[in-house]
Each structure stands twice: as structure tokens, then as C-alpha cells.
């Protein structure tokens, strides 16, 4: 088993996630893209952990999954509130912080 196959998969997933975060206008899809980025990182951690015969990578991955669950919970709540207030979840319309 070669390490670089996992790393390539991870890099592809990360890139798809970054594209989604930057390009999609739908809030829910942006959140999903963030999940892709996080899971790309998870794959990296687990792969390196297995490669080095250490459980540290898995432990970190588990932490990230737990934190990601919390983050998605908050994120979806924000999207929900956004929808209630504006009847829209288009992120390009939310620019009140413009300087």
C-alpha cells in the first residue's frame, strides 16, 4: 500500500471542498464543502497514522469528527435563522459587514 494514493485522494477531496466553499452560493452546500475539507484532513491523518503504525492519527481524526459534528450543528442553525429572516440562503446577498 502506497501512502501517496491516500494523499492524492485527500488532496482531490480538499480541492473539491475549497471549490465548493468559494464558488457555491447555497449556504448548506458551503457547509457540506467544509465537511469535505475536514474529511480530506481526516484521511490524511489516518493514512499517516497507519503508515507510521501509530494510533495518534486515528485519535486526531476522531476528535475532528466530533468537532465537525458540533460545527455543522451550529452552521445549520445559522443557515436556518438566515432563512427565517431573509427567506433565502444565498450567501452573496449577506454583505452587511462591507466596509
Amino acid at each position: 500500500m502506497l501512502l501517496n494514493q491516500f494523499l492524492i485522494l485527500s488532496a482531490v477531496l480538499f480541492s473539491i471542498g475549497v471549490y465548493g466553499v468559494l464558488a457555491r452560493r447555497n449556504g448548506v452546500l458551503v457547509l457540506m464543502s467544509i465537511e469535505l475539507i475536514l474529511n480530506a484532513v481526516n484521511i490524511n491523518l489516518v493514512a499517516f497514522g497507519a503508515f507510521r503504525a501509530s494510533v495518534g492519527g486515528e485519535v486526531f481524526a476522531l476528535f475532528i469528527i466530533a468537532v465537525a459534528a458540533a460545527e455543522v450543528g451550529v452552521g445549520l442553525a445559522m443557515v436556518l435563522l438566515l432563512y427565517r429572516n431573509r427567506r433565502s440562503i444565498d450567501l452573496t446577498l449577506i454583505d452587511q459587514l462591507r466596509g
Binding site: L22, V30, D95, L97, G99
Partner: protein, 755 residues
Amino acid sequence: MNTLFTLAAAATGDGLALGITEGGSWLLRNVWLIPLLPALSFIGILFFGKKMPRGGSELGIAAVGIAFVLALLTGVAWIDHRDNFHGDEVHVAVIQMDDHGAAHGDDHGAGHEPGHPSLAVHRTATWFQTNGVEFTVGTLVDGLAVMMLLVVTLVSLLVHVYSTDYVHGDRRYTHFFAFLSLFSASMLLLVVSENTLQLLCAWELVGVCSFALIGHWWEEKPNSDAALKAFLTNRVGDMGLLVGVTVLFFAAGSALPDRFGSFSIAETNALANSGALSHTTLVVAASCLMAAVMSKSGQFFLHTWLPDAMAGPTPVSALIHAATMVVAGVFMIARMYGVFFEGFQIGGSSINLMAFIGGLTTIVGALLAFVQRDIKKVLAYSTISQLGYMVLALGVGAWTAAVFHLFTHAFFKACLFLGSGSVSHAVHSFDMKSDMGGLRRHMPHTYRTFMIGTVALAGLPPLAGFWSKDEILVGTGGWGLMGGTGGNGAYTLMLGMGMLTAALTAAYMTRCVYLTFFGEFRGHGEPHESGPRITGPLWILAGLAIVAGFFNMPKGFQLAPGSLQERFGHFVEPVAGYFPAISHATPSWSLAIVSTLVVISGITASGWYYFVKVEAASKAAGTSLTELPDGPTTKYPLARMGHTLLSNKYYLDHFYNGVVADGTKGPLARMANRINQDVIDRTVDVVGETAVKAGTVVYEKIDQLVVDGAVNASGRGSSGAGEELRKINSGKVQSYAAILFAAATVLAGILIVLV
């Protein structure tokens, strides 16, 4: 060197005997309790007086009453101590100057040895320390202190009781009693002072209290003016005291080995007596202290505050004039007598500054008493005159006579003052000419006690004033006729001054009594006798005015048993190292008879004028007159001039206000103005103009160009940067994220390239 230092004759190898002991009975060692009691009552009245049922007066009376009982017990303890105490005497090492001027310390140092009777009881505690010099506070108890404790507490107690009626319903009743307490405490602290620094503090405290009490009714301008005048006039003398005390401190330090200085009264006096202090130093110190006495004890020409001080409530006047304040000066001379005796060279002289000032004051004061309408002012000038008597006596070396006169005077003068207060209580005025007259029928108690006080003051035997006055006249040593000799010198002039004053005193008191109690009542309404809280103290004081003289019947007085002769002198006059060796004059029958005749002639002359001529003129005119319509002042120009001079109080107030105050005020103001205009203003102008020029340069060149330029540039820079950066700040989350990722990518690229 030889002129500055004389060999310390009394200082033997054992050191200089101070005449004090650290032993003694409990009472004598703990007299500090006596001033403490009224001091505590002052604080108590101040904080809780208003809440008490009698406004705090009960606390003051209780404190002073207990203090009086303690003083009595202390007196008894002293009488035992004076003759029966044989404890250790304190000695102190002295630097002696030999003929070549080389100083050598006394190796034996300070020590103790069994002493003789009549040692003063000395007790000290450390007050504070600075640079290794220790300042003490403590008590020095001898006959003088014990006598003063008794007089002050007794008069103060009677004044307290009297005041509960006299100032009843006053708007500052509590405040009044608080200050009465503090006044008593200050005076008691003064009389037990162990060192001059403590004495100075108590002296100032007395001054402050008198200020507060004279100005008790300060809402009226004359009263607050009088209080200020009393305070400021006293400040003049206080400077003298301060300088005198300082001079003595360093003088003592120069004579004591390993000591920087000494405030101790016993040490200072003992050094002065032993000749260890130079005469020049002592003259300077004694003159400075004399200035303090002149202001505090109302000696001519600093006496002007004293009559004005009558603006205070009458009990305060009684307290000031009888027991506290004004006798503080006389007490101070008596206390520092070693310094004065050597400084003014009282022994073997025929005139000196102190005796002359005293003699002048006694005549000046007595003359002024003749022209007063205000009964209290008559008594005030009488006090000045009698204080002059005391100072005269101290000046001629008749120490015991002076202190004895202080003792008797306290009683009859307090009696007279409280009597005048009782009169004014009845007629609501102090003016003898317009509001009094004929009061003997309306106020029998006040009349009788006032008469007793008058006779005692005039000095008719056998009342108190006779004995003390006679002793002073004897003490002048000026009576060479028929055995009345001895004393410290031949002060014939002082004897003449004393005699003249005796006649004048008798005459002006006769006038005062006639105007107040005889003739017909000239005031309004129906005068009535005062209550028991006023007449009670009057009778006690009148009783003392009768018997006080018997405490010191002269030695060799055939009508009294030997055991009763000179009791006062025996117990009060110190026989100790801190007291100079004064010699005592021999009493003389002839002098006593002559002085009595002089007094009677004074009474007769004045009595003939008032009781015969004025009375007859009154009957003829049908009203109660106070002087003859064609009296000597209308007939003779010289008499009129004299009267005008006296009415204007020798123009001293005019002199002080017009010449001294305005004279210094004007030139001082002009000089201050000139300095202001020419020196200060010009400097300020030059500095200002230079500053303006420098400021202009700085403003134009540095401020405008450099500083402002930098500030403006940075402002514009940040403004432009803000304008540019504003575009990035779109508010869109995804553009932010894009920048974040781009930055992360760039940084990651850098990392890869570098590592």
C-alpha cells in the same frame, strides 16, 4: 573665652545638683492626671455634650471637681514631702571652663546621692526622638506647681459652677464648657511642665483657648476683633518665648557634656545659677522671655489686648484674670527664675528691666482704671496693675511675695470679676455710669462680696491683699527706716511706685464701688439678686479673700505664733539647685503702717469726692450724678489734658494702629509695589517676550513644517490605504475565504520553497 565662661562654682566633682528627685509619693509622681481630667472632659463634651441632659456642663464640673480634689491631695502630699523626704537627688555632669578656656568634661557624670528636703519631684517620659536627641514630656512638682494646681482647679471649678447660671440658654452653651475645660487643662499642663518645650506648647494652647473664649459671641464684630487682638498681641510675645527657649536649649547644650541641648527647666535654671552659662546668653534669653511675659501678662506696652478681652463672657474674664492666661507670664518668670535672676542681675542692683516694666505697668494700669465707665474694664486695668505688682516683685527678687500675691490676687480678683458679672446679670449692662448705682439695696450678696474683694484688693489689713502687697513693698529693700532692710538690692524707686499704686488702687476701687452700689439706681427696670449658683462661688471666693493672707504671715510677726509664720513661703519657695540663692528682706512694722496709711488716704480722697461732694451735688440736682458738674476736669486744663490722655488709653491703640500698623503697612505696601513693578514684573515681561519669540520660531519652523507635515502625511497615507483596502472588505464571506485560501497557498508555497 574667659569672658564667655566662668568657672562653674556650684558644680563639684559629683556634678551639678539639680534639686530634683525621681522619687516621691504616688500622688506627686502622678500629677499628670490633673491636667488629663479636664482634657478628657474637653473631648467628651465636644463629642457627647449636646446629648447630655445639661449640655456637657456636668462633665466639665465633674472633671474639674475631681482635679481639684486631686490637687488638694497633692498639696497634702507635698507638705509631707517638703519636710520629710530624704530620697536621692539628681546630679548632672557639667563642662567646666578653666582659666585657659579649655573645656573638660566632668568624669563622674550624672548620678544620685541622698538629698536634703524640699526636692522637687521630677518625672519624665520620652516624647519623641530625632537624630539621637531625646525630647521629653513630664512633670516637675514643687511648691510652686502645687500652689498653682490648687488655685487653677479651685477658680476653674467655681467659674464652671457660676457659668451654668451665667451662660444659661446660650446658643453655644456646650461649646463654651468644652473650651473652659480645655482652658483649664492647658493651664494645668503649663504649671506642671518639666521642660520649656512643653511649657511653650501649653502656653500656646492657653492662647488659643483664650482666643476661642474671648470671641465666644463672635457674631458681633467688636468681640471677634477683641479675640483677634488678644491672639495677635500674644503672638508678638510668643516669638520672644520661642527665641528665648531656643537660646536656652543650645546654651544648656554647650554646658552639658555629650548633650546637644536641654529643654529641662531644672537643668537650665541650675546651670544659670551655677554660672556655667555666660551672662550674655542669659541676658538675651531673659529679655526674650520677658517679651513673652509682657504680652501674656499684660505688661505695659503690650497690655492693650487685656481690656478688650472683656468682650468675652464674664466667667471667662474671671478665669483669664485670676487663675489662667495672664498669670501664666508671672508663673513663667517664677519657674525660670534662675535665668531671670542671673540674666537681669537682680541681686545687688537697684533697677533692672523687669522691675522697671512691672513698676511702670502697675502705675499705668491703675491710672487707666480711673476713667473707665465699664465696670469690667476697671477690673481689667486693675488686673494689669496688679500683674505689674507681681512682675515688679519678681524684678526686685521678692519671689515669694510675688507668688503669694498671685495666690491672693486670684481669689479677690475672681471674686470681683464674678461680682461684676452678677451685677451685669441683673442690670443687663456693664456701664457703671448709665445703668448702675444704688445696687447695694437690690443685691445684698453681690454687694457684700464685692466690698470684701475691694477691701482685699485695696490692701487694708487683715484681708488677703494687705499681706501680699506688704511683702512686696518690704521685698523691694528700699525701706531703710526702722529695720525694714535686707532683700536683694535697694530698689527705692520700685518702693515708691508700689506705694503710689497702693493709693491709686484704693482710690479707683472706691470710685468703682460708689458708682456701682451707692447713690440711686440709674438704669431701667428692677434689678434682682442672682441665683445661688452665682452667689455661692462669690461667697467662697470672698471667704478666701479674707483668709488667704494668713497663709504667709511675716516672720517675726508678734501677733501670730511662730508655727504659723511664713507657712506659704516655707512650702512654696524652693530651696534647691534649680532656684537661685535669693536673700529675704526683714518685715517691718513701720512699713506696714505707712502703706496702710497710704491706702486709707487713697480711700479718703476718693471717698471724699464721691461719697461727700458727688452725693451732695446729687441731692441738690435731684438725680443720681456720677461726677461733679464742675469737677477738676472742667476747672483745670491740666486735669482735663490728663483725663483726655487716659480716656484715649495713652493713645497706645492709636499708636499701634496708626503708626505701627499703618506706618509699616504703607511703606511695606509701597516697597512691595515697587518690587512688584520693577523687579518681578520686569522679569516676567522679559521672560514673556523671549518666550513669545522663541515660540514663534518653534511654531513656524518646527511645528508647521516638520511635525505637521509628518502628521498630515501619515494621515493621508493611512486614509489612502484605507480607501484601497476598503474594496477588499466586501462583506461577502466567500471573498474573505478566497483571500484566506490564497494567502494560505502563498504561505505554503513559500514554506515549500524555503524548506
